[in-house]
Symmetry: C2
Subunit: 309 residues, 2 copies
């Protein structure tokens, strides 16, 4: 296996550093050698592995559910977040996330309360079926492609390249864990047990078929910022040596990679408004940290020959 | 591969049902066939995979820490749980667990509060090192063997047998996740990322080396009873088809296995006071459920030719 598998990456410093790092940690007897069981790689999902604009894909799924709820219950129509969902007010919704990354959680809290209500009592199996159907059947609002095809080809190649070199890849996302799980194996080759992310609280409800796990109307984990390294340890029990992210919420995860070992930390920079989107809102701290700590900043415009399949 | 790998199991109904089940779910084209990615097996640890009497192995580790704390701070010596630790009052300590399984959590709460205090501020790396040293160096109080050799050989054989047939094994224990992790790969062939269990709260503390994950003096998850299926879903995202346990706290996990699929549920019965211990305290509901639902009850005395290596 050679670096040819990274065919969608342009030759340049980003690709060269990835290949150099992987060759270093896999060279038996070399000073940087890391045994396969310790080759843990963690990746944010929204904006790192797949597209997150004009709003996170998961939001589209939630909006669809909000619209259904507002159709069924008139009293919800003048309240946020149902009003924004019904009126297609993407600015309010996208703004909630941007404000969160800038440190203002007021709108995100209103949104979260709505989400808790939206899935209260649903079983994990029902939710997985609905999420899978949405991701396989739905289309991105502006990119003229299925949600399912919104993964970045260079990152999918990177995942395969790492796996071929004995790495074990995990998703460590701020997004909802159970929303991604139905498709992560197909899109990224990452099975459900290696998806870490946010979740509502769950409860076990006894029944005649051995019981059902269902969502409760309470938050459990919002897997962002300093929570990411905590959740990575909780789930894996090892410190990663490779981490990829794109926003301020990924900074602790990126910094956590390595410890006393060599590590590669990679930040995806959205600077291609022709093929994808150009934005740095919510990534200001991450870009400053990347420069200060010598992380790789991947320019979508310059480093990626193609973005989508 | 044949059933010969279950060499420490006596021929009898328990062994026969295990082999019959595994052959059924692995027979391609058969009515009970389950693809490898769905062959998930979950096992409790204390009393199911290794010895839990006269008290759980983890308690010995905690007591050692309590004694150190009481030596350093005189004010702790007259308080529980430090007093019991210092005086070697195993009855109080073992009783806390037995009372928990009988529905009375008063002493277990006192114990838990002490445990939170005992590891407050310790990093996960320091804790893992201390737990690993204790398990490798310490000796069981009555069985004349290292803690590390307190795993049940027939269960270790069963794990290997399942793995050889495409199963993925997980530990889903009420015990502390991070206490087990340093040795589960060596003893059971189960790596840290497949250990589910209880945990204190963790926090990420920034430092010059990329940050450290440390324990906070707050509970996070007590992974027992109805919490077990919830945590199994959270970690794996799949419903197991094989589950093994030994106490009332395992009943929801045992019942959860299978769902619409065939499943094997196994309960270890401690009825061998010559080679191990004989007790059913804390397993009354589990035994009643096993009989009602047709789970396999494994008699240590009759079904196991040998217990320890």
């Amino acid at each position: 296996m050679t670096a040819d598998v990274l065919a969608a990456w342009n030759d340049g410093p980003a690709k060269a550093r990835i290949v150099e790092f992987v060759e270093g940690v896999t060279r038996e007897g070399g000073v940087d050698y890391v045994p396969p069981s310790e080759r843990i790689a963690v990746f944010d999902n929204d904006g790192t592995l797949w597209c997150e604009k004009p709003m996170p894909i998961e939001l589209g799924f939630i909006l669809k559910r909000f619209v259904e709820m507002a159709e069924a219950d008139e009293s919800l129509r003048e309240q946020q977040p149902w009003r924004a969902a019904r009126e297609g007010d993407h600015a309010w919704l996208g703004g909630a996330i941007t404000k969160h990354y800038a440190g203002d959680d007021s709108d995100v809290k209103v949104l979260m309360a709505g989400i808790l209500q939206a899935f209260d009592g649903q079983s994990v199996d029902e939710y997985a079926e609905a999420a899978g159907a949405f991701l396989r059947g739905g289309k991105h609002p502006t990119l003229d492609r299925a949600f399912h095809a919104c993964g970045y080809v260079p990152m999918i190649e990177l995942l395969a390249y790492l796996e071929a070199h004995g790495f074990t890849n995990y998703i460590a996302s701020g997004g909802d864990r159970d929303f991604m799980r139905p498709v992560t194996e197909e899109i990224y080759g990452i099975p459900s047990e290696r998806v870490i992310g946010s979740s509502n609280a769950l409860r076990y409800v006894e029944d005649e078929k051995g019981g059902t796990v269902t969502y409760a109307a309470a938050p459990d984990v919002f897997d962002d910022g300093p929570v990411k390294p905590v959740r990575i340890w909780s789930r894996i029990g090892k410190r990663p040596i490779f981490a990829g992210g794109n926003s301020n919420g990924d900074v602790p995860m990126l910094r956590y990679a390595g410890g006393s070992r060599p590590a590669l930390r990679l930040l995806v920079l959205h600077d291609d408004d022709e093929r994808e989107f150009a934005y740095t809102a919510g990534a200001e701290d991450a870009l400053a940290t990347a420069e200060r700590d010598g992380m790789i900043v991947v320019s979508m415009r310059n480093d990626w020959g193609s973005i989508f399949e």
